[in-house]
Every structure is written in C-alpha cells, then in structure tokens.
Symmetry: C2
Subunit: 415 residues, 2 copies
Amino acid sequence: MDVAIIAIGDELLLGSVTDTNTPFIAATIDRLGGRVVYSCHVADDPSEIYSAIGLAMSKADLVLTTGGLGPTKDDITKEVMCRYFGGRMRHDDAVARHIEDIFRRKGLPMNDLTASQAMVPDCCTVVENAVGTAPVMWFERDGKVLVSMPGVPREMRYVFDHEVVPRLRGYYDISSVELHHRFISTEGISESDVNTRIEAFEVSSPLRSVHIAYLPQTGYLKLRMDAEDAVLLSEAESLFCKEFEEYVIFKGDITPAEALLNRLREAGLTVSSAESCTGGNIAHQLTLIAGCSDVYQGSVVSYSNEVKMHLLGVNASTLDSYGAVSVEVAREMAEGVALAVGTDCSMATSGIAGPGGATPGKPVGTVCIAVKFPSGTVSDVYHFTGGRSEVISRATVKAITLLIRGLGCRATGLS
Amino acid sequence: MDVAIIAIGDELLLGSVTDTNTPFIAATIDRLGGRVVYSCHVADDPSEIYSAIGLAMSKADLVLTTGGLGPTKDDITKEVMCRYFGGRMRHDDAVARHIEDIFRRKGLPMNDLTASQAMVPDCCTVVENAVGTAPVMWFERDGKVLVSMPGVPREMRYVFDHEVVPRLRGYYDISSVELHHRFISTEGISESDVNTRIEAFEVSSPLRSVHIAYLPQTGYLKLRMDAEDAVLLSEAESLFCKEFEEYVIFKGDITPAEALLNRLREAGLTVSSAESCTGGNIAHQLTLIAGCSDVYQGSVVSYSNEVKMHLLGVNASTLDSYGAVSVEVAREMAEGVALAVGTDCSMATSGIAGPGGATPGKPVGTVCIAVKFPSGTVSDVYHFTGGRSEVISRATVKAITLLIRGLGCRATGLS
C-alpha cells in the first residue's frame, strides 16, 4: 500500500505551526506495513490543493489529507475535493445535528461559519468526527482512496485511529504485509560509527539482513530494525546488543524517561529530582508517563541559591567555595532532594543553559550532574552543545541515562 | 521570491521524527517577505529526490533542501544534485580539513564514511558549515537557486541564519518587499467567533484590510496580522485589542511563559510554582526563557501527598477532608510554595491528567488551579480535554494565563 500525505494550511507554509500530523500518520502507516511515498504541505489555495491531490493520487493508492476543514473563511478544501471527485456540495443533517450537539454541550453559541461545516460533497462517504465539528470524508476513484481529516492534532489522531485505520484494514489486505519492528536506543556512539561497525559484519549476518533506520534524538541515538521475519529480527537485535553492549541504554519504542521508570519499577526503587539548569524538565519528562506515581515522588526546582539551601539543605559554605555550578553542589542537591522527598534515588543538575551566564572556565553548556543510588552518589561535569532548550534537553537525557545505566550495573561506577 | 522547501530523509516518511526544519525556514522566509509555495518530504531515494527537485525548481525561484547529507550509506543527496545540475563529484580539501578539525576537537576517530563527506559536486559553491561536518551547497541555474543544507536542526538553523540568509539578501532584492507582522494571543474565544466578529466590521476597516492568520495553540489562540503598511497594521492591532479586550492575554510573538515573565518584571514581582498534575511543566516553560532567574525563583513538584505536606505545608486535614484534587489543597499548595521559596506570586495545580486516576465526580481532565497574588489567592476547578500531555499543557497555559490576567487587572477577581 503506497501512501501519500497532504497537510493543508497557510500556517504550515508560513512556518507558524509545526506539522505533527504527518509524522503521526506516517508512523502508523509504517507499522501497518504501508509505505509513505510522498508527503507535502500546501496552502489554503484551491489550485494548489487541486494539483497536490492530482500528484498524490498519481503516486499513491491511498491519499490522506489533514487540515483545511476549519470554520474560518480561508478553508476551501471541501469544495476543491468536491470538484476533483466530480460532485456537488450538499447539506448533511446528521453532521449539522452533531455540530449543534457539540456546541450545546460546550455551551457555545452557533454561528453561520460553524453551521457551514454541515455542507459536504455528495461524492464522498461522511465519517463521523466524534471529537470535533469538521466531518471526515472518504472519497474513492479508480480503486484509489482519499480520506480528508481535520487538522487539529487531537481530532485528527482520534478519527485516524478510531475511524480511518479500521476502515483501511477492511479496504486493503493490510494485516498480511505487516512488518515487524525492534527499537534500540544507544548513547555515546555516532550514527556513522554504528553504521561502519555493522557494515563490517558478514553480508549473511542477521544484522545485515534487516533494514536499520537511524533516528537521531536529542542526546541519544535511536535505531529501528525492520523485517518481515520475526526470528531473523530477534537474532539481529541480540547481535546488535552484544556488539554495542556498552552503548545500548534501553530497548523498545519508548523515551528515556519511560525506560527509567520501568527500570526503577523492576528494582523496586523510587526517584526524585533536584533541578537548577534543567528547570523542571526532568520532572516533566517523568510525569508525562502515565502511572509514574508509583516510583516518582516529586522534585525541587532550585533556581536560586536560597532554595538550594532552604529546601535541599545545600551548605552555604559549599556554594561559597565551589559556586552553584559545581559537582560538589550537585551532589548535595541530589542527596538533599532524596532526603527531603524521601526517595531511594535522585538526579540533580546545576549548569549554564545560556545564552548568558558563562563564567571563566564555565562556558555555556557546562552542566554538573549528580545521580544518587541507594549505594552511593556519582557526579561529573558535562559540556553540551546547542541553544538553551537543547542544553536543557541534553542535560535531562544525560541525567536520566546515567541513572538507567547505574541501575543496570550497580556494581560498577559507584563510589 | 517564491520558495520551495524539500526535507529529505527516510525518517520523515517513516514518521520517526518530526520535521522542525521546514517551519523554521518557512517562518524566516515569511519574515523576509518571501512566499513558500511548496514544501515536501522525500525519502533517501535518488529518483524521488531528483523528481522533487524538478518539481520544486519549476514552482519556485529558490529551493531550500534539508537533510540527506549525513555520513551513513543511505545519503545520496549530493550525487543526485550533482547529476541534476550536470557536474562531477570532486574531493574538497578545505572541507576535508574542516571535518578533521571537528573530529580532533571532539576527540573522535575519523572513519571512511565521515571522510566521504569531503566529496562535493564541482557544479556548486561550497559554503562552510561551522557547526558540523556536512557541507552546505549553493547551486545556480537559469537565475534560480538551490541551497542544500544539513538535516540536523541545530546545524541547519546555524548555517541558514549565518550563511544562507545573508547570501540570499545579496542575491535577491529582499529588504524592499518586507512585510510587517503583529502577534496577538487570545484565550476563551473560538477562531470562528473571532473571525465572525471581524467580518462584521466595515470592509474599509483596518481590521478588514490586513491579512489575519489564525494559529491555534494548545490552550489559547494566537493570531498574526500581516501588512506592508505599518501604520495600517498598528490601527488594526489597536482596533482588535479594543474589540476583543476581554480575550486578549498578551501581544507579541512570544509564549505565555515569556509574557508572564515580562509582566512580573514590570510589576517587580517574583514567582514560583507548586505542581502536582502539571509535574514541573510550568517550571519548565518558565525556565526555557533566558534570563528568567530575576523573577522566577523555584518550584516544588509535589506528586505525593507527603511532599505536599512536608515541603509545602499542606494540612493533612485538608487532604483528608477534600482530597488532593481540590481547590482547598491547591490554595494551600500555592500559598505554601510562595512561603517556602519566598516569592510574591505563585501557581499551583492538582488534578487528574489521565488516562487513569478518575474518581466519581472527578473525571480525567479535572484540574484545580490556585494562583497567589500579593493581594490574595484565587482558585477554581477546570476541565480540560485531550490526552495526558494535552491536559498537562492546557493546565499549564491556564495557570500562567490566570496569573497574567490577574496582574493585568489587580483590582478585580481577587478576594
């Protein structure tokens, strides 16, 4: 199943918003064994949309579009599709009632613009959008399908998962071509070094027989192995983990935060964080994971020295002698938060995220990280590249990775 | 200047990564007065890249590509461009020395794959990439330009801002066509209602004479007004702020967190947060803003009741009588963190981000928010839609917005 994705909206070409719909759809299509062969962004312009549909229909069996269905006047997608598939616009009572229901529930007044959303092409099947007012439209021509979905990510994701994918499974013989995937995340090795070492294996090796996608993430390298043969895939995965043992931090399509929570859960340990330069991002990443509360207890964001002293018990003398950005302060922060919150483990960061704040010997990107284990505390100073948000992200991943690694091999690296 | 953007990489069509390069480039082109007419994602496939370049060159005067220049074997972009522009690959000594320097500085070993990055087409001008190993290539044909940039966001942004844009300003007569923009963020009113009320103005009104782009964000609605006439734009902005006074939360191309920090700075006040369901995201959003430390002091992420009691001084009796998810607890959290951290203002959240944790009368999405001002504390219970991360984001924006609004009109809404 070759698929094309068209994201519609001036805002995409103006760069005002980042398109998260296309990667969401593409990832699902990929898991279904389909192949996204083309993806584009077009403005809310009739002729641009029309030609994009033409090109997409010529390249793919299935065309999925997002956006261009909102209530404001610049949304003309429905009319264009109606013209492309040779139909007329008609008023759909069911859609109208659905829209009225939504507005009644929200206690909002209807207006003409919203009411106009009940107009749909007579040449498509209307699929209900349970979470929004914009209808989902399913067009068919010459055995090819075009499905138009709303652009609001929450609505698009819901209708795609709950309405569109089940219908696609029925329309195409999808299950039979499903690919198997394995995800492995590594840290401390470059994409090209991984690739070079894999290329050095025999061509007949499982590692050379599976497709490997390199997915660089901020602070670590994620790889995805694909194969139709599940056994071959398992062999390739174990071979990889053996070859790159010192670099592998976790397996599975999860985030470092999720991997850490799983590791803590297995070990029956709890965690907290004391954050200066990461400013609460470690806590945020951990609490984004549902069900974190059994191992994650809390954090202190200690931006000022006063908070470091009063809430974390960092000694004034340590701050005076070494400065806030020091491994000594980071260690006291880590041990202080574990005591204050009452956890077995903790992570602490103190650094210079930039762009300002650099001091002689401590350039922007300098971050001191301490990680407390039941058996002791490790700490070191790191230098991260990039802008402020990137330094924050890299320091966050590094702290989480240090704890994951330490829990993986308790015997080593701890004083 | 009509512009096309091509983002190259299997990972984009696999949905493994979100393309943030295209919106970054598009936003800059837009500010320069250019128009992005087309944008697409193509796989690391020679024929796909070749045809995408052909289509882009036919639609635009300037084609900007990102990605497909990394060291791993699937990167064939350079060869395709070399073929398209009719040249031969050659070894570039300067690029080679630059790559060796980078590896020496990082203390990493060179390998053949990386060395191959020194091969470039002889039909392009090589522009140095000061922050990475992949060269930037500038091709010209029939008065049209194609610039190939690396896909790593940090590298792409640096070379685009520091190398490509200055050269574009020289090549095209850009400055003369620059558009003016104004950004306004509103909360509590729908895109269609804003649009309907604007449509009700005289056609001759400044509000009808400027272009308005609706940029819905999670938890609020951002609008951008565009016009070549700066005076007209100012008139439209003031007219908008007057008409939608009760909904406007801040002006400018900034985030709610940035707007709050500015407001606090003006008022000479400091802030902290006590976060249960937002899990540190309020702190994270505030600390993403450089220079926040003059008004932001710290936060406590109190996931467990123990932390609420021990670090924030929430009374056990309040937790027992009303439960953790209650305005009573949220108020004590807000007042507790302001006292513990020593700030004039604070925000507190306690709620159910989901998917689990719902209780009778407290469905997923229920969030109690308390905001402390120097003159008193306000609190209320809110119900947010969406998944876990969306509930966290919406609660974060709501807490920040409540504080911004309260600081804007101290006289009202405070007990």
